[in-house]
Subunit: 144 residues, 2 copies
């Protein structure tokens, strides 16, 4: 008999599974040398580019940490820093054309996982799960 796990831990288990799978297919697709921390940061970049401080906030890490991660990603050619036209102090971190092919790969795996979960739970329970999680986000997401 299994002990009753906290709801938050159950969420953690499932989310870790999904991230491991997505990072796995990205590496198989050729994204080698990119660490998990770097991937998590990249996931927060918008297509038009995102400021470093915003990335740091979204990933819940210090600006210095984000700087270090972006340094490595930039050296490897996955992202580039361009001036922010709206603020001379800021720069936008943007994925390069070298990184572009991996975005659909990540999204496809993401959809595949959701499809498997829906197949396991049924459409109705999956929809309720999503709805409940979105509702919980209102009281748990620090950027909302």
């Amino acid at each position: 008999m299994e002990r009753q796990l906290p709801t938050a831990l159950l969420m953690f288990i499932a989310s870790r599974y999904a991230m491991d799978r997505i990072f796995g297919v990205l590496r198989q697709a050729g994204l080698e040398g990119v660490s998990d921390a770097q991937m998590k940061l990249v996931m927060n970049i918008d297509v038009e580019g995102t400021r470093l401080s915003v990335l740091a906030e979204r990933a819940q890490i210090a600006k210095q940490t984000a700087t270090a991660l972006v340094d490595k990603l930039e050296a490897a050619g996955w992202v580039e820093r361009v001036p922010d036209p709206t603020d001379g102090r800021a720069r936008l971190v943007r994925p390069t054309s070298k990184a572009a092919p991996f975005e659909p790969v990540a999204h496809a795996e993401e959809r595949a996982i959701e499809a498997e979960w829906e197949a396991h739970l049924g459409a109705q329970r999956m929809a309720e799960l999503r709805s409940a999680l979105e509702s919980l986000r209102e009281i748990t997401d620090p950027y909302l």
Copy 2:
């Protein structure tokens, strides 16, 4: 309008929130000098003690990493290593009496979070959420 976040990311957000809160109250209660990584490891220790390799597997880290974390926890007096009576090679990692008072603190906060979530969602949706997560665990938990 917010972009549609993946289900797994929604889970990650909520679970991170819960962990941050639990670790926060533990530190306020006097658990200082214990890092997040150390806390995550301690959370996996059973009351009667747990083998290091089991801890490593549960936390999804290498044995050497677990050794290093337990070393620090032991040096600080939070856990102790005792021989495993059933296997001369193994040792059981066990919380010390110094650590005991913090267990109820963690559980109380855990219950408080779940109560808040239930208040936000309603009893029925919360129950459905738990049920769906437990079901997903069957296909996402590497130790099940």
